[in-house]
């Protein structure tokens, strides 16, 4: 490549470049510029227009009321805190389940690998709305069949209005494919068996190996998994609304009728927050990924 590519790129800069390269060089540039400009317009216009919608009231001019009144709005902090709490619990649960399983599959039980992969990927096949039909059916068993057993208390506790554990369980199921993908990619980038054997030969205990050797190498993919889960939980509407809870996304819909401007303002803010989170997390995870990626590429 080193021998070929530079000659191909240096040709147009020569004074007497052949007609063919002179014609073929600028064409992709124009084409690329047009594509990117159109795409940029398509993706920017709704954002800009929604912002204009929130700050410009026809006949009254500019106003930032939609944003300033947000904090005082009924249910805003409650639903946001509920969503954040659910997200934290979901991230913790999905990582606690997935990390040991994936590490185990890498170092000790390769035969389990297809089983774990299928288990983690199956939720992709099941649309959330289909899952929620099953969940409502199961939750109805509580009052119908189990009212005289201790399990009934569990059913009640799981549906606690202030912190619905049932949502955490459902979200963990939905997040598993993304968590699996992210962790699997991270584990693929490091040579887990060699790392583990090296650490074990130096006398490290198993918990030490996992916490001090494996997890730091997986920092980027752990951050990625956590981010995807956070985005998923913050935006989740279907399951929560059909089970009758009111986290953030459900709250936005509930106010949209009376306060259209505010619902759009909150939508814009949620995009901005997601964007900032992604940037922060991708920066936090840059160094390990790039080093891991470059070393693994050198080896292959």
């Amino acid at each position: 490549m080193a021998a070929m590519t530079p000659t191909a790129t240096s040709t147009p800069s020569e004074a007497g470049a052949p007609a063919k390269t002179a014609r073929s060089r600028p064409r992709p540039r124009i084409w690329r510029g047009a594509v990117l400009a159109l795409a940029g317009a398509y993706f920017l216009v709704p954002l800009v227009a929604s912002f204009v919608f929130t700050v410009h009231v026809p006949g009254q001019g500019l106003t930032f009321e939609a944003y300033t009144e947000l904090l005082a709005a009924e249910g805003f902090t409650r639903s946001l805190l509920l969503s954040l709490g659910l997200a934290a619990a979901t991230i913790a649960l999905s990582l606690l389940l997935a990390v040991p399983a994936l590490v185990a599959v890498r170092i000790g039980s390769p035969r389990l690998r297809p089983v774990v992969e299928v288990m983690c990927m199956l939720p992709l096949v099941v649309p959330p709305i289909a899952l929620v039909t099953g969940i409502t059916t199961v939750l109805r068993w509580g009052p119908e069949h189990l009212s005289r057993t201790p399990l009934y208390q569990t059913f009640i506790a799981v549906q606690n209005e202030s912190f619905p554990v049932v949502l955490v369980l459902a979200y963990t199921v939905l997040a598993l494919p993304f968590v699996y993908r992210s962790l699997d990619a991270g584990l693929r980038a490091v040579d887990v068996p060699t790392l583990v054997e090296a650490a074990r030969s130096c006398g490290a205990s198993w918990p030490y190996v996992v916490v001090r050797v494996l997890l730091p190498n997986l920092r980027a993919s752990l951050a990625g998994a956590a981010f995807l889960t956070l985005a998923l939980v913050l935006g989740e509407f279907t399951i929560a609304s059909l089970l009758g809870f009111q986290p953030f996304a459900v709250w936005i819909v509930s106010i949209s009728g009376a306060q259209a401007r505010m619902s759009v303002a909150v939508s814009i803010l949620s995009l901005l927050i997601t964007w900032l989170l992604l940037l922060a997390l991708s920066r936090a995870g840059t160094n390990p990924t790039t080093t891991a990626a470059t070393t693994s590429r050198k080896e292959s």
Partner: protein, 300 residues
């Protein structure tokens, strides 16, 4: 690798016993994940499938097998909603797939790494920007009193956001970035050397794509299409917040049947519709996963 293990560890006997112990222990680490998915994913799905094919007499409590719910889910308005969902998903997946490839190609071939990382980051955020906030952003942009609608007088041009076409435009907003994310690594995997080799052998641009580019990309392209189809098919929140019931979609019908105060028998039809959805999505994934594995062979 396993042959190097015994040497650093003093005695050979100690290391073999440790290796024998490692098997069952690592297997145990994967157990919580498998138990969790079995409980929180398997039981709701089982309940849904069971409810879809049985009928319980409300008075006597006797349960009997019946195909009635599945049959009803494939008739009249329910069939219409299934067909509508499939049509919308196929259309958006095709358009989004093509546009996503075009955008990804123009991003990947660009020399500017800043543009590439910005575009990929933006795609990551926008692909997650489905659901309720997206619906409200579009209502503010192109809804009845939206900014663009007012500016361009779109209503007189026949524009209606709350329609099949409107929904297509909205879905493309998160499907195109998703396609960019999926296809960009594949396009990057098309090594410049292959193109140079083809050019040096006298191949035209078209011949390169016909005999090298597209065959290598085919699994990723089909896989991306299928992923987009599945995503659009399962989407509920965007449509629920946007059109309510004016476009027949299976997810909206299920939500109606679950939450609306309709006839009691409708609940089982919702379960049957859920089962229909899983069957369709399962077919789609059965195409996607092997394709992804095939493309991984070329692109690493």
């Amino acid at each position: 690798m396993s042959t190097t293990t015994p040497r650093p560890v003093g005695t050979a006997g100690g290391s073999t016993s440790r290796r024998r112990r490692r098997g069952p222990r690592t297997w145990l680490a994967a157990l919580p994940l498998l138990v969790f998915t079995g409980l929180c994913f398997g039981i709701p799905l089982g309940a849904m499938a069971f409810g879809a094919v049985t009928r319980t007499d409300p008075a006597g409590g006797a349960t009997q097998l019946t195909g009635e719910h599945l049959a009803r889910s494939l008739q009249g308005p329910y069939l219409g909603s299934l067909v509508g969902s499939v049509q919308l998903s196929a259309l958006t997946a095709t358009v989004g797939g093509v546009l996503g490839v075009v955008i990804a190609q123009s991003v990947v071939t660009s020399r500017s790494t800043a543009l590439r990382s910005a575009a990929l980051t933006a795609s990551g955020v926008l692909a997650n920007f489905g659901g309720v906030p997206l619906a409200f952003a579009f209502i503010a942009t192109a809804g009845i009193s939206g900014v663009l609608t007012q500016l361009g007088d779109l209503t007189s041009l026949g524009w209606n956001l709350y329609s099949f076409t409107g929904l297509t435009v909205v879905y493309l907003y998160f499907l195109i970035p998703l396609m960019v994310l999926v296809i960009a690594p594949a396009l990057e995997g098309l090594r410049p050397q292959w193109r140079e080799a083809a050019q040096n052998s006298g191949a035209t641009g078209w011949q390169f794509w016909r005999h090298v580019g597209l065959p290598v990309l085919a699994p990723s392209l089909l896989g991306g299409f299928v992923l987009l189809f599945g995503t659009a098919f399962a989407a509920h929140a965007t449509a629920a917040a946007l059109v309510g019931g004016s476009v027949p979609l299976v997810t909206l019908k299920i939500a109606d049947a679950l939450s609306g105060n309709v006839l009691t028998g409708q609940e089982n039809v919702a379960l049957a519709l859920g089962l229909d959805m899983i069957l369709i999505a399962g077919l789609v994934m059965a195409v996607y996963l092997p394709l992804q594995r095939r493309s991984a062979r070329w692109l690493r």
